[in-house]
């Protein structure tokens, strides 16, 4: 039981990183990135290609150390975020959404079709795990990984808090709320947006690298659009514009996703499993609609920011 909870917590924390990255882009900057899974995939594959143990039929699989893979994954996603941002960032709202969505679909297709590098649909295995050889049981490794995740997520969370309270973060919010006013004050909206986009994408890339180094296997089927949807649902349910909400949303949505499966298994006999599974998905959909109906700003909404000079 504990072992499962540790595993579950690792997944939730990885998803939280994704949600935090998206929160920076959407919650604080207002960029509708519907291609979350694309950046996740770039991070994951960069790490996998660099750290997987060598195999003659693949171009990559360099067997490099775990840390190199993680850092390179972040660098590669930052670069990709910058390139994609350069082209798409001036698009607004739904247009940016569909453009980034298309980018994510294209990235997934590249991972599926570029077989010599990505292994195609066969995927890549034996991906670098951090200090895995020190642990004899999967529980030991998962526990260590959970500790690692807590440190990484904690650091990210703390750094994001700092950054958002800094002048840079305040400009982001200003642009989101009233672009004209911010531009009038001499801030380049485009530059700040692009920076937020790149930073958010980098976090998604980090999440991707951590996910594959936790699981040890990657294939294109890990990066279908449903993942983007799940991350968005986490942010919306938790409450966008609030990093605590982003983490809570990851816990609640993934908890419902996994927990409803357990509930259906307990309540429905195997002979009715197909119907039970359909009902499970219907329940997930209903819950999402209900949360939005009754808490349209998420479980934790954005904290109101009031100038401390307001009562002067």
């Amino acid at each position: 039981m504990i072992s499962y909870l540790v595993f579950f917590a690792c997944i939730v924390l990885i998803l939280s990183l994704l949600t935090l990255g998206l929160n920076l882009q959407w919650g604080f900057t207002g960029l509708f990135n519907a291609g979350v899974v694309g950046f996740y995939a770039i991070g994951a594959y960069t790490h996998a290609i660099l750290t997987a143990s060598p195999q003659p039929q693949y171009l990559g699989n360099f067997g490099l150390p775990w840390l190199v893979g993680v850092l390179a994954a972040m660098a590669a996603t930052a670069l990709a975020g910058w390139l994609i941002g350069l082209v798409t960032i001036r698009l607004r709202g739904d247009y940016l959404a569909i453009a980034t969505f298309g980018v994510a679909v294209s990235i997934q297709l590249v991972t599926l079709n570029w077989e010599p590098l990505t292994g195609g649909s066969q995927g890549l295995t034996r991906i670098g795990k951090p200090f895995a050889q020190l642990f004899e049981t999967p529980f030991g490794f998962n526990l260590w990984f959970l500790g690692l995740m807590i440190v990484i997520l904690g650091t990210t969370y703390w750094a994001l808090d700092r950054v958002l309270l800094s002048p840079w973060g305040r400009v982001l919010k200003a642009i989101r709320e009233d672009e004209t006013a911010a531009v009038a004050l001499g801030k380049s909206a485009r530059r700040f947006r692009l920076e937020a986009f790149v930073l958010g994408s980098t976090l998604m890339g980090l999440a991707g690298a951590l996910y594959v180094s936790f699981i040890g296997f990657v294939s294109p089927f890990d990066f279908l659009p449903i993942v983007t949807f799940q991350v968005w649902a986490m942010l919306i349910v938790g409450g966008s514009g609030n990093n605590r909400g982003a983490v809570l949303g990851a816990l609640v949505v993934w908890g419902i996703w996994a927990g409803s499966g357990v509930a259906v298994t307990k309540l429905v006999p195997p002979s009715r499993a197909a119907q039970g599974a359909a009902i499970q998905v219907i329940l997930i959909g209903l819950l999402l609609v209900l949360v939005l109906l009754f808490r349209p700003r998420g479980l934790i909404g954005e904290a109101a920011v009031v100038s401390r000079h307001v009562n002067d």
């Binding site: 195609g120 995927g123 298994t265």
Partner: protein, 421 residues
């Protein structure tokens, strides 16, 4: 706001914990638990229905035949939704919370792969799949020997297909294949075999599944002016592809893979339009063990057993239950070794159905070796955890799927030698 946020956290944790706490604590007494992970929803769901039924039937037969070590078997089936993260979570739940020492699953290799890497191999539990054919899973040692499959690898089927297309003198073949590990594997091995056995592939057109139309792919395939078609995929997409192929003037000389041996496909395209097609399948043609399974399935579900994964899923669970009986204890490593003792050369033959299972259990209790003949024929795993079974060629006659000829294990071994020297 602050308090609300905290109460939300608390209630979320309580929700998750509550759901998980509902699971009984792990204790290895009766009943014995066996896990299952299958895509009950999502794009693979249409073929999963019968596979899940076959699993249910196998568990019923096991229980009627005495269960495992005197205990009834409880089957816990989870949905992977065709999504890797969901599948891994489900498998992890089965192994860590329900404490199953062995489980069956799943279909899509994109889900099976991460399960092997993060659950099966590190936790040392036995996984037997009915359907994941990706060749590297067994070959590169990634599973530590804990992963088995009752379906022959794509290689077996691809070689058999090539021998049949060569025998029928099919020329100028275009291969339209699903862009997954299964499709690419089949294409690779088919091309290797055709080079040795005769025939030529003039164009290769991959397709991504779940599209509303395949006109573009079909048009591209027809542009090569082929005289025959080899279609590798799954029934739902294949119906659309074959109909578009025929209506755009494609040839009726079509070869198909095992998945299309289902009436859903034949009726979908229209029986009168597919009189000339033939296909391969891995199953044993006939014999008392196969018939017994077919009869039991038809009686229970009022449906025929034709369809991908039905026979292999039944065997996956029967093998698992037999191995658990043979194994000295119900731990992964012991069961893994016992899987190789369900088909011992000098063992007493046992077959499908509750009575045969009962017979097997009594033999095992008496310390005697057994030799299992399943719904797909003799189940003997090689060093990698793969089976090489016989194959059959099927065709459509008077709107029904009938067996054209069979390729015995001996024929198959000769075939392997000819292709691979």
């Amino acid at each position: 706001m602050e308090r609300r946020g905290r109460s939300a956290v608390v209630s979320a944790v309580a929700l998750v914990a509550g759901v998980l706490a509902a699971a009984p604590a792990a204790a290895q007494t009766c009943p014995v638990k066996i896990g299952g992970v299958l895509p009950l929803t999502g794009s693979m769901a249409p073929i999963t229905k019968k596979i899940a039924q076959a699993a249910e039937l196998a568990i019923e037969h096991v229980n009627a035949g005495g269960g495992v070590k005197g205990c009834p078997v409880q089957f816990i089936l989870r949905d992977d939704q065709g999504q890797p993260t969901v599948g891994v979570d489900a498998a992890k739940y089965l192994v860590e919370v329900e404490r199953v020492p062995a489980f069956t699953g799943t279909i899509s290799s994109g889900v099976t792969g991460p399960i092997i890497a993060s659950v099966t191999a590190p936790s040392k539990v036995v996984q037997i799949t009915c359907c994941s054919t990706a060749s590297p899973f067994t070959l590169d040692g990634r599973s530590g020997g804990y992963f088995f499959r009752t379906i022959p690898t794509s290689k077996t089927q691809a070689y058999a297909t090539a021998s049949e297309t060569a025998r029928r003198g099919m020329k100028k073949t275009v291969v339209v294949y699903i862009n997954t590990d299964f499709g690419t594997d089949m294409l690779r091995f088919y091309k290797a075999a055709v080079a040795k056995l005769g025939g030529e592939v003039i164009a290769e057109v991959p397709y991504n599944d779940n599209q509303p139309s395949y006109r573009a792919e079909v048009t591209k395939a027809l542009a090569a002016k082929p005289e025959s078609l080899l279609l590798i995929g799954f029934p739902k997409d294949a119906v659309t592809i074959v109909r578009e192929w025929l209506s755009l003037g494609g040839t009726k000389s079509i070869a198909l893979n095992n998945s299309m041996r289902t009436m859903d496909f034949v009726n979908g395209v229209g029986a009168k339009f597919v009189e000339d097609v033939f296909g391969m399948d891995n199953a044993q043609v006939a014999g008392p063990h196969v018939d017994a399974f077919n009869k039991a399935f038809e009686e229970k579900f009022q449906a025929d057993t034709k369809g991908p994964g039905v026979h292999t899923q039944y065997d996956a669970l029967m093998v698992m239950a037999l191995a658990m009986n043979i194994s000295k204890d119900l731990t992964g490593p012991s069961i893994k070794d016992a899987v190789r003792r369900v088909h011992v050369p000098n063992g007493t033959p046992v077959g499908t159905g509750p009575a045969e299972f009962k017979k097997a259990v009594e033999l095992i209790k008496a310390g005697k070796p057994i030799k299992y003949f399943g719904a797909t024929g003799p189940i003997e795993f090689d060093a990698n955890g793969d089976v090489t079974g016989p194959a059959l060629v099927w065709k459509i006659k008077d709107g029904q799927i009938v067996t054209d000829r069979s390729i015995t294990i001996e024929d198959m071994q000769t075939l392997f030698k000819r292709v691979e020297n």
